[in-house]
């Protein structure tokens, strides 16, 4: 039995309503009551499952409802992928040449740290994005396994695209294991720095940036990049002048500066 009351009539209830943080959990001795302890373990279990989840390329292509090229990174499995991020940034040795063309945009869907996020949200985001950018020359879509954000660099280069958008599963948190990120890189080629990219993060529904407003934001960045001829920190600064789509209780969405130490890139 918990030593402190939890629930109705508890004067600390006002704290619970004021933040999504795990406040006023009650106590059993010095420790946690069983209910909040198990709630934490459930959230962590979901996050761990999402990290370990494997991308199912056929299911992904069915959801995308259009033909796509499936590639793998140089990481042979999940363990190698987690231990050496560089492997996830390169295409597997022996990957066939991608069909080159005069493309404005390439779209890559990549598992990243949450295939769960990709399966949950990538198809509606991709469809919404394509609908907003129908006038552009768009390369065949690519599905990438065991991939980090930078996998978009060799893929975009191989396709001959001026700009690449990578839709990728973000590192799962306890509040969400299915959050998708979109990273834009102008003139993609290996060696691009993370500061040369723009990002729209926390795409998920419910609880985050829904696919339609996410596609609005990505499409805005795509057109701005095509017009200006760059992505990265400078584009971010200009982007600040458009209305922010921050959501109460959610991680700040929209383009943000990316640091190399960002876990999970």
């Amino acid at each position: 039995m918990a030593d402190t009351p939890v629930g109705r009539g508890d004067p600390l209830d006002v704290l619970r309503r004021a933040t999504p943080a795990r406040v006023a959990l009650g106590r059993a001795g010095q420790g946690l009551p069983t209910a909040p302890m198990l709630a934490f373990q459930l959230a962590h279990a979901r996050a761990r499952d999402a990290v370990r989840a494997e991308l199912d390329p056929e299911r992904m292509i069915r959801a995308l409802a259009r033909p796509a090229i499936v590639v793998s990174s140089a990481a042979a499995d999940r363990a190698a992928y987690l231990a050496d991020p560089n492997l996830g940034r390169r295409l597997a040795p022996g990957t066939p040449a991608l069909p080159w063309g005069e493309y404005d945009l390439a779209i890559v869907v990549a598992d990243g740290l949450s295939a769960t996020a990709l399966h949950a949200h990538a198809a509606p985001v991709a469809a919404a994005l394509l609908a907003r950018l129908a006038d552009l020359r768009i390369a065949p879509m690519v599905v990438a396994r065991q991939a980090r954000v930078a996998i978009g660099d060799p893929i975009g280069q191989g396709l001959g695209a001026r700009l690449v958008v990578v839709l990728i599963g973000e590192r799962p948190g306890l509040s969400a294991a299915d959050s998708l990120g979109a990273y834009l890189t102008w003139d993609p080629r290996p060696g691009r720095r993370d500061s040369e990219r723009n990002c729209v993060s926390n795409i998920r529904e419910p609880g985050g940036l829904a696919p339609a407003p996410a596609a609005d934001k990505i499409a805005w960045l795509v057109r701005a990049a095509l017009r200006l001829g760059f992505t990265g920190v400078d584009l971010k600064d200009r982007e600040e002048i458009v209305p922010r789509l921050d959501l109460a209780g959610a991680r700040p969405s929209g383009a943000r500066r990316i640091f190399r130490s960002d876990p999970g890139l």
Binding site: P11, A18, R22, A50, R171, R257
Partner: protein, 463 residues
């Protein structure tokens, strides 16, 4: 060239940094950097060679060149020869025994600290088992003070970390109130802001300062933003207690953080000049973590534990109130699992204390690391035994802004209880004044009949 012969096999190590890397317990970050022993036997061969190495060799064979790195210059130019004299005749292996010796007490360890370089600390650390790291650290007392006294024996302070995904002031206030009601917040009430916005940081500082003043809490506040932002906040007249900065062990890695020693000096002087400190003049808060130099491509082929110790040398001249290693934050490519995080946490605490720094540890992990709450319980308990100055207090251990798991208010109460540790004395007296501490120093549940507690809860709507 360093070498060791083991049953007819000769193991050679071209220079000190290769030897140090080879002697280091295995971790993913060194493997990622292409460093470390090629076999388990080679690792022990490196430890034999390291054990025979005279300590003064570490002042000559430099792991990062003196000419190209201001951190190396700081280490060499400020090395205290007089303090070093007591251990100058020792090898690294004998230094380990000297540290463990029953004749080496707190006073001798404190006296020798300015003569210990980070490379010496890192070298001996590689020869030490986890129990050695705990036993020696436990003997060392490093105190610091601002509005209360931190680091006293048998005390454990907590940084209250009330982060919120959008820096919502009411949300931050809710976490602060929850933490204070759980007896946490004596190390600092310190928020990581979600953005770089100066007005937001100022709002957060004013919120914490208002709660502190109204409740007369003997603690200090901090918004963990870039040092240049804090300098701007100081110029604007915001209530800055501590200046925060992430630091690393090489000049290039610090450049990646947008800082150098001159900028840190400027911030240190500006913060001191505010004169907001009362009991002591320790006004800086630094965070570090193994792997930060490699992630900035600034590791110079040096193993991550040695570079981490060098980060403490960067902190040392600024006499910080708080230094903490955010040990599991960086991810599994640097520290793969609970075992590696645990080892690194003990190493960082030991090396920092040996160098004379007021060390805390953010006992933490991300969801892509092979670790869980049980690993955190283990490391927290070990660090409590080792005498860590402070740990983090995050509501329910779940940081909803940084998306990682740290230690909770409950965890702090647990470790204080099982090890008989108490909050900072001034803060402990405050807890008693507002009716929050009961018999044996245990934290009591919220009591509406206590006016001060009601006033604290009421700050939720006056932030």
């Amino acid at each position: 060239m360093y070498a060791c012969d083991l049953a007819g096999t000769r193991y050679g190590f071209r220079d000190l940094k290769i030897l140090l890397a080879a002697a280091t317990p295995f971790r993913s970050g060194d493997q990622l950097a292409g460093l470390g022993a090629a076999s388990a036997e080679e690792r022990i061969a490196a430890r034999y060679a390291l054990a025979d190495l005279p300590l003064d060799t570490l002042l000559e064979d430099l792991v990062v060149p003196y000419e190209s790195d201001e951190v190396t210059r700081l280490i060499i130019d400020t090395h205290d020869k007089a303090a070093f004299a007591e251990i100058s005749h020792l090898t690294v292996g004998a230094f380990r025994e000297w540290l463990l010796s029953n004749d080496t007490d707190a006073a001798r360890l404190t006296a020798v600290a300015p003569g210990v370089t980070p490379e010496m600390a890192a070298a001996v650390c590689k020869l030490m088992r986890n129990q050695d790291l705990i036993a020696v650290a436990r003997k060392i007392t490093v105190t610091s003070a601002f509005r209360n006294t931190l680091g006293l024996p048998r005390r454990l302070a907590v940084r209250l970390q009330p982060n919120h995904a959008t820096d919502d002031l009411r949300g931050v206030a809710a976490s602060i109130i929850d933490g204070l009601l759980m007896g946490c917040g004596d190390a600092v009430i310190g928020v990581n802001p979600a953005t770089d916005n100066i007005d937001t940081a100022r709002g957060l500082l004013e919120l914490i300062d208002d709660i502190r003043l109204r409740l007369e809490i003997p603690t200090q506040s901090c918004v963990l933003t870039h040092v240049t932002n804090t300098l701007e906040l100081i110029a604007l007249g915001a209530p800055v207690d501590l200046t925060f900065q992430s630091i690393a062990g090489t000049e290039a890695a610090n450049r990646g953080f947008g800082v150098d020693l001159a900028l840190l000096s400027e911030a240190h002087e500006a913060t001191l000049a505010l004169g907001r400190h009362e009991l002591g003049d320790n006004v800086m808060y630094f965070e570090t973590g193994q792997g930060s130099a490699l992630s900035a491509d600034a590791h110079h082929g040096v193993d991550q534990q040695t570079l981490e110790a060098r980060a403490y040398a960067v902190a040392r001249p600024f006499r910080p109130l708080l230094v903490n290693s955010v040990v599991g934050f960086i991810g599994p490519e640097y520290l793969y699992d609970g075992k590696q995080i645990t080892r690194a946490g003990l190493e960082d605490h030991f090396c920092g204390k040996l160098l004379g720094l007021p060390m805390g540890v953010d006992v933490c992990y991300t969801n892509h690391a092979a670790a869980d709450q049980d690993d955190m319980d283990d490391l927290l308990t070990l660090l409590g035994v080792a005498g860590v100055n402070f740990v983090m207090g995050v509501p329910g251990a779940d940081d909803v802004m940084l998306n990682y798991q740290s230690t909770s208010f409950h965890d702090a109460l647990y470790v204080r209880e099982v090890l008989g540790l108490r909050p900072a004395p001034e803060f402990e007296a405050w807890l008693a004044r507002i009716g929050l501490s009961g018999g044996g120093g245990r934290i009591l549940p919220y009591d509406q009949a206590q006016a001060a507690q009601q006033e604290l809860l009421g700050r939720l709507d006056h932030g």
